[in-house]
Point group: D4
Chain length 166, copies 8
């Protein structure tokens, strides 16, 4: 069963959004990837959002840039948690994308991650599913432990390289 | 016949948006005013946009604040020109509203006016209609002439007040 | 059982954060409210985060302002989903709070809502729980339906008030 | 007859502004392209604006960067709708251009599009003309339909490429 | 003879701009005050700028807010030094006014002062005139000396008030 | 006699600031170029400013980046007009330089030009000197006329290139 | 002996800067308070900075707003650590003050605290002195402990108030 | 004995942070370099901060980017002065890093330097140690003198190069 839907307005967002898919792969969370545009396919977008529960989805990850309406509009048409990824475009460094996604009015929340932060969007989806799935929760703990180990490694490597300085 | 539709996401936007209606009143342009929310009534919003041409509308003025998706979403579902008014909310002074409205992706334009600039949205709707309506164009010229006269009056009044200084 | 922990760095954040509690009350989701400070009680904060799973919490909502470190630090010490509320302080209108919360590095996500958006934080917690709780999901659908009804009411009221204009 | 005038302050704006001309070409809307500078040829600029109606123009598209005064000044001297394109310069990513164009005072509106959004300026000019031109309106509908088809294609292509992953 | 022309787009700018006039009064520099609007009286504005030299003006101080085009447009039509005062409006705290005035293209400079800094605009006009007027230069030196004395007084007063603390 | 002093905090500012020198060369205005640092040579800086009048300077052009204190500090120690050039550094695109220069307190003005706008700083110095020098004023008029001619040329060239399109 | 010098450009900064003095009072660190202006008394400022070591000062706390040059200029003329407090003025919410203070060039550091953060400036001065003063270090530890206790109190009080809700 | 601890969240910060180490090397101040992450190793971070005094450290320099929590969190768990270096990441040019570090709440200061300003962080650490170490203070004076000499050299070189222009 597919738990997470990853959507984006254009395939040009894929280089950013694939990081969300990769994070879900690492946790073996089933997901689908779709191009759905708020501005070019508004009815399709609402249909996608409206059918998400019936199709078994539990979380939707939506990436968009500029006047980034996709995450908020999807959230308006589904009761599921929607995670928004501000995709940075050519100008303004993603600040427009961030504000367009995060500043939702009371009633319709979007769980916003950092500019270009699709990997974190995937990890947040895992955490959401893990909240009621002990096995997945254990995997997330392992993952966090691995982050700690990685820092220790980098610390050792940096120290070693400094000692070697003449 | 109603030429212009003025829409907003909440009646709390009315104190700003009424300035658009007043501008249209001054030019005797028929208009309607509706509360239509992108996030609370997404299907109704698309219906409104989709039926606008058939109902005889020629321009839509849409006001929204924060993650302001209404103007862009309406523009996605109608071929008519859509004018967006960034309504300033409690925080960020309308900068989020402005960017959410103006930074539309290629393919779906929104004619954006200044933060809180609903009066100019009304006047822009008049100019759009006037482009193919000589009588309305003449009215707009008269209006511009009246602005010039107003400046002359203010100039005279300020000069007079300065002369009176002891 | 308590599903959601609402925490904030100071009781001065309570006027904002109580909106999260109220939203959870509306959905009859059990929650606790605690003052836990990243900068004044760092060890207590990590303890709170570290024990959250064992205590049965499923979601943590954390509000903070300025150099707002609470949500991200809590997320570093729990595998649960953490929702961050950027509390606006006296200067910068909450932009510092927003960036300090949302711009988390890859590996540790925080689900960020709008500046001052504690009500949406509560609603997001409900959606997260509802993803695997059909009864709660149904309530969220009802809530969304009520938003639609509210817009219809406001639309009718505004139209009525306009007709009454002389 | 020429319906749309595209103007810019310098030929260095042409790589951006040519997208407006291309959009008009796609819809077979007659247009002219001129270099007219607010700061280097102020009288010529006012003359151009003042004669636009008599010359048969219906919409003016003006691009400018930095302290971008061309769109607003042209709007002050014509009753026609003026579309402003904020051209990004070397610094500030077009934010200065955007604010200089969009923040017009009450009385003189400029229909502002996104930073560098000349293609949308052209499409907005088409929508304005189409508001009273059923044939052009039909073309705009077809164009919007083609956008939908394009999304469907991209969606299929992305899905196909993902299936092929080992 | 009138050396300095102070102009503004509306009498609503006078509470800010009067500080420029007061500074000139302190130095007994003859000046005139006029309401001249870039957007409402574009031709009058260019006429004012074009005739400034012949009328004996040596410096023009221009205040404007929002899409603040007055200083730059006046500078385009006179060879005299033009000082721009960014007048803060209701939103954006004068940042739009500042960028619209200061970011002029190469060829047409505007001497920009701080947001709301009309007093400094007056003092800058004095410095410009004083560059070739030894008597005025001596006055400016005296003024600067008086600023030093004022700081010494404030320093003494603050120290005294602190000593008196119980 | 040297009329204008061009100063900068480091020779790394020279690629920007040389445009000021070139503009003065075009108008045959005598000038000197010096490296004087507010933060590395504070006493030398105040000496330079304090002796400027006695050495015959009439205008000082000061370029600085980041926490750009040079223009304002020089203005504090001379009665001459000081022109500030915000030099953009590696981060923030010159916005820090601009605010550090333009936001001077009442009493000590700096005539600020655009980010990186050293050419305009040179031209502004010419205008300041020209205010009381008819021959230089005539040159500035000629220069402005040449800008107009340049726009006409570019307009013709662009039109020609468009006609040639197949 | 006086360890810390607190300086500010105007007595209007005192309502902000007194918080630095109060923090030093709490730790019984001897300090002086002076009005010293970078722009109005530049030589006095350099004298104050130049004599600081000889007079026995160990840390200087400098507050300034807008184009806030005082902290950086003082740092240029003393080898002592200088703490900068960005004082917010009427416009821009202290962002100009912050950037003018913090963005110092390599070679001359200023230890910058938050906008309006004079209390933290005082506490930072204590930490600097405490780095080589075990008794003062112990006091700082006690202070940090008291912050922890305060949070515990607030937590208990908030919990109590919530229980009392009907 | 090691006086200064330099820490950073990832070895990817080392190209920026090594400038702090180099500055300390120039002054022969003993220091250590560690990778310690607020978000990946929160307990280790608090341990590092908590043991700093006992290990003889006197100053901690902490670099971080984005939602940069390391400096503030370390400051929460040590009474020593903590210097924060905002490391610029891929987006927002370090503005998020700066605000996350500098906007600390009252009670827990971080001595913030410029974006990417690790060299100044090292120099600030030297100044802090020098405040109670006359020999080190003398070195800092010599260093400042060398900056003055460097400016004189650059001034001479620039002047020479200009004279050589044909």
């Amino acid at each position: 069963m597919t738990d997470v839907g990853i959507i984006m307005g254009s395939d040009s967002d894929w280089p950013v959004m694939r990081l969300a898919a990769e994070a879900l792969d690492e946790f073996e969370v089933a997901h689908e990837v779709r191009v759905v545009s708020a501005h070019r396919t508004p009815h399709l977008m609402l249909d996608y959002a409206g059918e998400a529960v019936a199709r078994g989805l539990k979380v939707i990850v939506a990436g968009a840039g500029g006047a980034a309406h996709l995450p908020g509009m999807v959230a308006s048409a589904t009761p599921l948690p929607v995670i928004g990824v501000p995709v940075p475009l050519k100008h303004l460094d993603g600040m427009d994308s961030l504000l367009s996604i995060v500043q939702m009015p009371a009633g319709v929340p979007v769980a916003t991650v950092s500019i270009g932060g699709a990997r974190n969007a995937g990890l947040l989806a895992v955490r959401i599913l893990a909240a009621t799935d002990p096995a997945l929760l254990a995997k997330m703990r392992d993952f966090q432990e691995s982050l700690r180990a990685l820092v220790a490694e980098k610390d050792a490597a940096l120290s070693a390289s400094l000692v070697e300085r003449p």
